[in-house]
């Protein structure tokens, strides 16, 4: 579904990604872990071109999206993204946050979008918040709504950029729960996170990144039970 070939990204002289090769298949749940500054967020943001790669190729559903002629907006409609800081639109109600993109892009009629949004809200248990503004709800609720907002576009893959890092500890669970349910339904997911338990339980594959490279990747059992790379051993000893 997503194929990355020799991806490089540099901010000025600072090289963040130094040649990433990766293939993510349909239905996989890939969790990316690594120390801060290892380039994992940049890698994720390159996948939907929020960061423009310096060189390398990214293919999404057999389209070369790093080609300048590629329609980036169309590609992004199929690739949902959830941010660390939620990034809900504060001037719109929860319902409007969810329906804005599908309606303005003329993918759904106003009624369809609303119906769809209410169904999704019900699924994450936030039906009664439809008419609230983002400033009136908690962080965990915001993040669940951000997930719903992405889901409303019916994406083929969901990218999560540290979705629980900005949350109070007691709210982490509710967001992870929604993500778990999403995983069980078969959504293809790429998750950058520090939640090792989530990686252990949900991931089909875990990647360890450091200094702009993927140093190790394996199934969670092998990843946590029998790490090979010394830097991964060091990292795990610190976080577990």
């Amino acid at each position: 579904m997503i194929v990355v070939k020799d991806l490089h990204k540099a901010f000025g002289d600072h090289r963040v990604l130094c040649g990433i090769n990766e293939e993510i298949k349909k239905g996989e749940k890939v969790v990316v872990v690594g120390p801060s500054g290892s380039g994992k967020s940049t890698f994720l943001r390159c996948l939907n071109l929020l960061e423009t790669p310096t060189s390398g190729e990214i293919w999404f559903e057999d389209t070369l999206i790093t080609d300048p002629k590629c329609n980036v907006n169309q590609m992004r409609q199929k690739m949902g993204m959830v941010f660390q800081h939620f990034n809900l639109f504060p001037h719109l109600t929860v319902l409007q946050n969810i329906t804005l993109a599908p309606v303005k892009l003329k993918l759904q009629s106003e009624e369809q979008a609303k119906e769809n949004a209410l169904r999704l809200l019900k699924r994450v248990g936030l039906s009664e918040k439809a008419d609230s503004y983002p400033s009136q709800i908690s962080g965990g609720q915001k993040q669940r709504i951000a997930i719903v907002r992405s889901l409303a576009m019916n994406p083929d893959v969901m990218l999560f950029d540290e979705p629980t890092s900005a949350l109070d500890p007691e709210m982490v669970g509710e967001v992870l729960q929604v993500m778990k349910e999403l995983a069980e339904e078969g959504m293809t997911m790429v998750v950058v996170t520090h939640e090792m338990n989530f990686a252990r339980e949900v991931a089909t594959r875990v990647l360890f990144m450091d200094e702009g490279l993927i140093l190790e990747e394996s199934e969670p059992q092998a990843f946590f039970g029998n790490p090979q790379n010394p830097r991964l051993c060091d990292f795990l000893s610190k976080v577990l």
Binding site: N48, L50, N73, Q77, M81, N87, L92, L100, S135, M153
Partner: protein, 256 residues
């Protein structure tokens, strides 16, 4: 011993006389010869001028602000395309610095005597364009600051949903920016309304020119000038109140 009642009577008499003379002057200055019609016409022109100039200012300001925003997807293009894309940005910057770097009265006179000098264009239209373009430069800076004050994450969220950069601007960034800049914008319009008082330079009969006119007819300055000042004050008071109401409405989403 002086008679207290006589003194109080004297005070009342002089107060009464003062108001009587005020009234007489008012009648003489404004009502005789229907001179109040000058004020009415002047007020009408001041309002038309302010409203249309403000509308042009908002429109021009918004366009210029968006053009001047730093663009980050230039890297994908070659040198020539980048050069072409830089032209509007350069023009917008030049416009803002020229307008901000020269006195408004000079701009108005250039507009009237040079740019539209031989065209026979209606004075009102010339004045609206001059004021609108002037205001546009300041509004552009206000909008630019407002747009840049919106968190980058908002743009990223919009774009990640597949919205185009125009849609993201239109539905996500600008509505939030306007809310943030409303006080500054209101200030700009207050300045604009008061600034229209110099339009007499091109002999357009606005409120101030009307007062001027009455002074030259009646040889009295007090009543016309104070009267006009009060009218300006009331207009701006109403505007301020209106903006206050609008601000409260827009803040609805901030309430907790």
């Amino acid at each position: 011993m002086p008679d207290v009642s006589l003194i109080t009577m004297n005070i009342f008499d002089s107060i009464g006389a003062f108001f009587q003379s005020l009234y007489d002057q008012f009648v003489f200055v404004f009502l005789d010869g229907n001179r109040y019609m000058l004020i009415v016409d002047g007020l009408k022109n001041t309002l038309i001028l302010s409203v249309f100039a403000a509308l042009i200012g908002i429109l021009v300001g918004l366009i210029v602000a968006v053009i001047r925003l730093p663009s980050n997807n230039l890297k994908n293009h070659n040198k020539f395309v980048r050069f072409l894309l830089a032209i509007p940005n350069w023009l917008a910057s030049a416009y803002v610095s020229i307008i901000r770097g020269t006195p408004f009265v000079v701009q108005l006179l250039i507009m009237y005597q040079i740019i539209f000098g031989k065209s026979g264009m209606d004075k009102m239209v010339v004045a609206i364009i001059a004021f609108g373009l002037n205001s546009g430069a300041y509004v552009a800076e206000i909008f630019r600051a407002g747009i840049q004050s919106i968190d980058k994450g908002q743009t990223e969220a919009g774009r990640s949903l597949g919205l185009t950069s125009f849609m993201t601007m239109r539905y996500i960034i600008v509505p939030q920016a306007i809310k943030n800049v409303l006080p500054a914008l209101g200030n700009e319009f207050i300045v604009l309304i008061k600034e229209t008082a110099v339009v007499g330079y091109i002999a357009l009969m606005d409120l101030t020119k009307a007062a001027d006119f009455i002074i030259s007819r009646t040889y009295t300055a007090y009543m016309p000038l104070i009267g006009v000042a009060i009218i300006y004050f009331i207009i701006i008071k109403i505007l301020t109140k209106g903006l206050g109401v609008m601000e409260r409405r827009l803040r609805a989403s901030d309430s907790r």
